[in-house]
């Protein structure tokens, strides 16, 4: 591999989900792009997944493979040498959960803009009208955000938002509880009151694969406590929701997330986004962002 186009050492040394396992087929070579670097992958006769970078022709150089891990229904790789393992989602292994790959979508937006939108509740009544929110129930109530240096992740708790069809059991609206995690600069996991068991929560994750600084593939994984919906219903619901976010994401300017505190106007509801921007700044991430001037 010649020198990488992406010059951000932190981004290069992260793990990235590339494709759902069921889409890696025996002997079939598929191509993708990670941080502007063309890559290709296949499943070998042994059942192992092989991934390699190439110069655009897809050809596999002898003996040069990228690291591979299988996690959360996807295979993950890296262009560098990660000093940390892929973050944990303990719920994924709980036996009574259904783990579903909803879709991978291409979006002409930067990865951090997607993460911020994923953390945001204030847009529910306007972008996910009558599904995740509805006017006039627009208030974002106070919630807590903490940044754990030990686990190197952001956690927003005690989040509540009014949802018109809060659960299958009730016909009316009610507050729904959310918890958000940002365990990776380009990945996030949200937890949401589960319909069938108020004591437990459904998990929805986005794993973002940056193609360039301003375009991505986003992989969406759900880990649900749900024994009635079909996989197809669940997938289509998630696609509908993400399809509503897409035109917002693609109409944000600048596309890269500005880390200068004076670039945009935060309000209290944006606490988690403010902490996320500071976290990226402190890490020294430069890919997909406009760094604050020193």
């Amino acid at each position: 591999m010649s020198s990488p186009k992406c010059k951000d050492p932190i981004a290069l040394n992260l793990w990235y989900a590339i494709a759902p396992l069921e889409e890696v087929l025996d002997g079939k070579v598929e191509r993708s792009i990670l941080l502007e670097q063309p890559i290709a992958f296949t499943r070998e006769p042994s059942g192992q997944i092989a991934v390699w970078s190439h110069d655009g022709d897809g050809a596999r150089p002898v003996g040069a493979s990228l690291p591979v891990q299988e996690r959360y229904g996807y295979f993950w790789t890296t262009l560098g040498t990660p000093d940390a393992d892929i973050f944990a989602i303990p719920e994924y292994d709980e036996p009574d959960r259904r783990n579903i790959h909803a879709a991978s979508f291409g979006v002409n937006a930067s990865a951090p803009r997607l993460v911020e939108n994923f953390l945001d509740m204030g847009h529910f009544p306007y972008v996910h009208t009558d599904i995740l929110g509805a006017e006039p129930h627009t208030e974002v109530k106070e919630y807590f955000v903490e940044r754990s240096d030990e686990r190197d992740e952001i956690l927003a708790t005690n989040c509540k938002f009014w949802q018109p069809m809060a659960s299958r059991a009730s016909s009316g609206g009610a507050d729904v509880d959310y918890i958000y995690r940002v365990p990776h600069p380009y990945c996030s996991v949200l937890y949401k009151s589960a319909a069938i068991d108020p004591a437990r929560m459904d998990a929805i994750a986005i794993f973002i694969q940056p193609i360039t600084q301003e375009s991505v593939r986003v992989h969406m994984m759900l880990s649900l406590l749900d024994d009635t919906s079909t996989d197809l219903d669940i997938r289509l619901f998630q696609q509908t929701i993400f399809g509503q976010d897409k035109p917002i994401l693609e109409n944000q300017y600048p596309k890269r997330l500005p880390l200068d505190p004076r670039a945009e106007t935060p309000i209290r509801a944006d606490k988690s986004a403010i902490v996320y921007r500071r976290w990226l700044s402190d890490k020294g991430i430069t890919y997909g962002v406009i760094p604050a001037a020193a």
Partner: protein, 574 residues
């Protein structure tokens, strides 16, 4: 050249492009604009980026008075571009300084003109006093290349072209017909040809002329684009992204400023709107009036030196003037009498920018307004905002008689939501209020403004009937309580680490100001809420009428103009 282009006017649309309730998307020198015409005809040219999260405003909604961002529903006012409502925090008044970036605008010769830093005159249009604007034609080519090609444009016999030093091309035919072209530099490789004919055409003649030029320009475009495609495409322009003001970058915004009167307004209309009540229309002498939100008031500095607070009655989008209502109160200290008797159309007044200590939530399922007499003014502005958004409300207006009901024309738009209660005795008023307030409920909010006794009665009835403190919002005109200022105590300022003594006879506000702390205030009698400060430690003797009972017993804030410490010291969050 680029700098010159930024300082001059360019057409960015035809007037006919800006239909009502539409947001037009434009670009000039690489910067995108959201352009929208309000129902009052005013053309707004704003940067195409909501300052909250950068979403293009050209995908937002023009409701005729305000532009609503599609992402979080933030609303921005006609003319000022100031934010009037943030739905995520319905109980708060947005900082007045949250404002989108606006650019110079002019409308002339059938075109809408803009320039990043345009000052000075629009281009000379002599010979083009009456015009027909052609269909704007976008061309994927640099501006200079398009200007050069227009030099060979011929639409009739004997055409000759002249290009001036600004790149304006005028093509004149033998019979005197002429067309003048301005080439809008959208981006390094995108231009728009905007032409005007030197005659106003209509009907079939107009359409024929528009088609004729459209066809010829389309041919010209093909040639220019073919030529441009052979060259290397220039990099897109990257206009600098302006930063928001420092106070908006952190939350919450800091409070600054004392009792100021930074605006000069002229009385342009003075009308008797009801018995004993005049309405005053105030317009800025120079520039634009600041953004207001429903519920806001201004301090009016009268010619006799008095300062009085009056609520704005304006509906959303009415941003070219403020309208206030003033009741003649012969028994009071003379402010209203001065306005009624001495103030005349044409007079100039000093007023403050709007303060909003009576914010309107718009997340209620239903809102009940109870107005008594002149207390109608802030509630009028609120109900007009809800009405404009199609939100559910009812408006009860208690007056002595029909002749005492002010602003009837403005309230006409409320239809059945308005009920006028005329000439009720205090007992009958109480009974009526019990009817009105019979069903408190989830997400129902009550706003009250009127004379002290009525306000007290309404609050009492609401509390009796089960309305929670959080759902009841009120504003007193004045504080009629006797203020006791006989004790002395210490205040400690947590953020500035100052310790000060407040002696008997002085207010906390006065002591703070004497020590160089710039505090904002307005009524200075415990009614308006402007000088509110957070309390970290210590007990408070509340002597204001602004805080509700729950807020008073919580003891987390104090009105520094009247209230005092019950303990030896207070630690304040300033």
């Amino acid at each position: 050249m680029a700098t010159d282009l930024q300082n001059t006017w360019h057409p960015i649309a035809a007037s006919t492009d800006l239909v009502k309730r539409h947001v037009y998307q434009a670009q000039l020198l690489g910067r995108e604009y959201a352009v929208w015409r309000a129902d009052d005809g005013y053309v707004n040219i704003w940067e195409n980026r909501c300052l909250h999260r950068g979403v293009r405003l050209s995908i937002g909604i023009n409701d005729g008075r305000e532009l609503k961002c599609q992402y979080h529903g933030w609303r921005y006012a006609n003319r000022t571009a100031g934010c009037t409502y943030i739905p995520a925090h319905p109980a708060d008044a947005p900082a007045r300084t949250i404002c989108n970036n606006t650019y110079p605008v002019a409308e002339a010769s059938g075109l809408v003109w803009c320039g990043e830093h345009a000052t000075g005159d629009l281009p000379d249009m002599s010979g083009f006093e009456s015009v027909t604007a052609l269909r704007g034609l976008p061309v994927n080519a640099p501006r200079d290349m398009v200007i050069e090609a227009l030099g060979a444009y011929a639409f009739a016999d004997g055409c000759s072209a002249q290009t001036d030093e600004h790149g304006v091309v005028t093509v004149t035919a033998a019979d005197g017909q002429a067309v003048r072209f301005f080439v809008q530099p959208s981006d390094s490789n995108l231009s728009v040809i905007r032409g005007v004919l030197n005659q106003a055409l209509d009907g079939a003649e107009r359409i024929a002329a528009l088609r004729h030029h459209n066809f010829l320009l389309d041919v010209l475009r093909s040639q220019v684009e073919a030529r441009a495609a052979e060259l290397e495409t220039p990099e897109p322009m990257t206009p600098p992204i302006a930063k928001v003001s420092a106070d908006l970058a952190e939350i919450p915004p800091e409070q600054e400023g004392g009792r100021t009167a930074e605006l000069r307004v002229q009385v342009v209309d003075k009308t008797v709107t009801a018995e004993g009540i005049v309405s005053l229309r105030l317009e800025a002498i120079k520039g634009q009036l600041p953004t207001f939100q429903p519920g806001a008031h201004i301090d009016v500095h009268l010619q006799n030196g008095m300062v009085r607070q009056y609520s704005l009655t304006n509906g959303p989008g009415e941003t070219d003037h403020y309208t206030i209502g003033v009741k003649r109160e012969p028994d009071s200290r003379g402010g209203s009498v001065a306005i009624h008797d001495s103030l005349a159309v044409g007079d100039v007044l000093a007023v403050s920018a709007p303060h909003n200590n009576f914010p309107l939530r718009r997340d209620a399922l239903h809102t009940v307004f109870v107005a008594g007499g002149i207390g109608v003014t802030p509630l009028l502005a609120m109900a007009r905002a809800l009405n404009s958004q199609g939100l559910s409300f009812e408006f009860h207006y208690f007056v002595q008689s029909h002749a005492h009901a002010a602003f009837r024309r403005e309230m006409g738009e409320f239809g059945d939501a308005l009920t006028l209660h005329k000439g009720l005795s205090p007992e009958d008023t109480g009974a009526k209020l019990r009817d009105i307030l019979a069903s408190p409920g989830h997400a129902r909010h009550l706003y009250i403004c009127g004379p002290g006794p009525m306000l007290e009665a309404t609050r009492g009835i609401a509390a009796d009937l089960g309305w929670s403190d959080e759902a009841v919002h009120f504003e007193y005109f004045k504080n009629t309580k006797e203020v006791d200022d006989t004790n002395s105590f210490q205040i400690e300022l947590a953020r500035s680490a100052l310790s000060l003594n407040v002696p008997a006879g002085k207010t906390i506000l006065e002591v703070l100001r004497e020590n160089g702390i710039n505090m904002e205030s307005s009524c200075e009698q415990g009614a308006c809420g402007t000088c509110r400060v957070g309390v970290i430690e210590g007990e408070v003797i509340h002597q204001d009428v602004y805080l509700n009972d729950a807020e008073k017993s919580a003891g987390k804030s104090i009105m520094t103009c009247v209230s005092r410490a019950a303990s030896d010291r207070l630690i304040l969050d300033i």
